[in-house]
Symmetry: C2
Subunit: 407 residues, 2 copies
């Protein structure tokens, strides 16, 4: 496992090297084995899968009443390592270290925070790069088809496995936000609050188009071997790198790329006039770097499975209407979108808000001004913190009041 270098989306932009008094400190990934035969999970497709190993981390302490747990759903290429460091020498902290810790937005002095790597991922949870116990070989192309509903089924089971009946909140951005929405619809009684950032009830056609290009880059890489490349000396690195490069552009805003890189050259001020000079502009060098780094930490099959789950996610298709899907839960919602996010534009968050209002659910919505495009949900921590703290506080107080009344 190499969660140490795990970096969701383009978090490299953040200087996340500092360790301060608000860090959760040194943490380690834990593992749970769920759905052991004959109790395999039934996937949305009807296929059976088990056992399922889940890699997860926790921060803070579970209260005696077991009522302070918050589950973080990671985005496409994230992992369970949200906060702190795996070792004092770790180069980088967890991917949302700015939000999770003592006194932070997800305050580990008050809350018990959980995050798990998704099913089909490649950071410790059962996925295509794991050994299939039936064959003794990596699943590869034989790994079953997955949906966002399946990710959530595993996370929900993990929460019960940890002895927690009801989560105070579930929170996530992008594909993580899709999991939050699915959770509200699939396990409506398991959550008191849902926080959905830079996400939507479905991916746009443009989003599917970019995923489609990325997947084709992987599949047409001659080292892909139809997904069974684990015994080969080289995997489909070029294809996976390309997939990351094109996706990465969609995580940034045009304005932020322009500001950060513009047309500046990597070396000096003069053109090389050399066709084979691939990284002459700084933006090219940056993208190539993103592609190379990604290949070191991510598995091409996981990329195929997870992006396809993202394409498929469609609450309306699954439940008839958004109102019916989201009205199943009594949870309070906090929804944010970001002005420059063109992958999950604000109009999609408004659709969620409209459905929740129609279903007479409690919903707070804020469109945050940010230059960072889709990645804003990872980068604009301070305004998010300001929204989250009172939202969680109120949810917590109400939960405790209700419990008190029950006594």
């Amino acid at each position: 496992m190499s969660t140490e270098v795990a970096t969701p989306e383009s978090i490299e932009w953040v200087d996340a090297t500092r360790v301060d008094a608000t860090s959760v400190g040194i943490v380690s990934t834990q593992f749970a084995t769920l759905f052991e035969p004959p109790h395999e999970m039934t996937l949305v497709t009807g296929a059976k899968l088990g056992p399922v190993r889940v890699a997860y981390e926790t921060y803070g302490e579970l209260s005696r009443e077991r009522d302070n747990a918050i589950f973080v759903c990671h985005a496409l290429t994230g992992d369970a390592h949200v906060a702190g460091r795996h070792a004092p020498t770790s180069r980088k902290p967890g991917w949302w270290d700015e939000l999770v810790g003592p006194g932070k937005g997800l305050d580990t002095n008050r809350y018990f925070v959980i995050c798990a790597n998704v099913l089909g991922g490649c950071q410790g949870t059962t996925g295509p790069n794991c050994i299939d116990p039936k064959t003794g070989k990596p699943f590869g192309s034989q790994f079953p088809f997955l949906t966002v509903g399946d990710f959530v089924q595993v996370h929900s089971a993990l929460v019960r496995h940890l002895g927690i009946e009801k989560l105070l909140a579930v929170i996530g951005g992008s594909l993580g936000g899709m999991q939050v929405l699915d959770w509200a619809a699939q396990f409506p009684g398991q959550i008191r609050a849902a926080v959905c950032l830079a996400s939507a009830a479905r991916l746009t056609a443009q989003g599917i188009a970019f995923n489609c290009v990325g997947r084709r880059a992987i599949r047409t890489d001659p080292n892909f071997h139809s997904g069974d490349y684990y015994d080969q000396p080289v995997g489909p690195d070029h294809g996976l790198g390309l997939a990351r490069m094109v996706a990465h552009i969609t995580y940034l805003s045009e304005a932020s790329i322009e500001k950060k890189f513009g047309r500046r050259l990597q070396h000096g001020d003069h053109f090389a006039y050399e066709l084979l000079h691939e990284t002459e502009f700084q933006i090219e060098s940056y993208l190539h770097h993103q592609g190379s780094r990604f290949v070191e930490r991510f598995d091409a099959n996981s990329y195929l499975y997870l992006t396809r789950a993202m394409d498929y996610f469609d609450l309306e298709k699954s439940y008839g209407t958004l109102e019916r899907a989201l009205g199943r839960t009594e949870a309070r919602f906090l929804i944010t979108s970001y002005t420059t996010d063109w992958l999950f534009p604000t109009i999609q968050s408004r659709e969620l808000v409209d459905a929740l209002v129609a279903a007479r659910r409690h919903v707070s919505f804020v469109e945050l001004t940010s230059p960072f495009g889709h990645d804003s949900f990872l980068l604009e921590v301070e305004p998010l913190q300001e929204l989250l703290q009172p939202f969680l506080e109120q949810t917590y107080m109400e939960a405790r009041r209700h419990c008190g009344e029950g006594i």
Copy 2:
């Protein structure tokens, strides 16, 4: 040469199959050989190149005064075949047939319209897929580095070769618009008017980023052979197809993709739950189709050379300021941008207008409302026609008046 199926950008959206009374009829591509040794052209890099064969077409008649010629600069993947058909059985007319013909925006009853395939292209003009007379083999990787200035140098020479001292107008969109701007700066006395559509004085960093991904797809295709693949059984088709797919997304608007394809499936209403089903959504099928079609008609090396020329184009870098670059000509300008074009956003056209105003040049600017994104310049012919007709008419009248005064 297969100009018959040549299709700039996503013009497939247009039903261009009809032949009407306003067609220029059956046309054929002509060829001129310029810059024959020892009179080779000097490229912007300083390298020499010659002879240069130029594929071009003309429509309408050159006036006795030779004052009614309009040069059309094609975009990245276009060619010389703008209007009419090569044979009565041709499946499709030229790529801008709706604009060029008797009574149309570029009225061939009045004007003599010329279009030539760009240097480095693959539709008849000297490019990397042509035989290098020095070696008797295709240029391939030995083709010299090109810039937009070099394209224009060849076009300018072709115009003189045709016995035309001064063009009534030069017109183009996207990379064609860059050629228009370069023409105004490089050969300021050769044009009376410049029409620049959906273009800019430089590509954005985001645009460079998308080009960078496309080029990498070609270069990492194992059939690329460092550009010398012409004697191989297969070229870098996967890479070139991928490059086209990603570029194609940038030619469309999010709203137009959503409207045309949305999340509709290619077959029926039910998900296949099959990871290897690459074209389950209609948008995927469409993009794959675009990639395949493109590979049939375009050369991977040309794609590398022309996209790099597009990245490099930077009037400000070449001339110090935009005002200085564009102020060199007395030509009148017509500039259009399109509301949903995110590859060449309106703000870039406004920069051109500001520079022209500062240089005290005549400029008309319109931001046209269109849902079709960057491709609008090809698809929204009617509003363009309404702008062009009086603009060209006035330019023509003024030219004739000045000539009359000169007599």
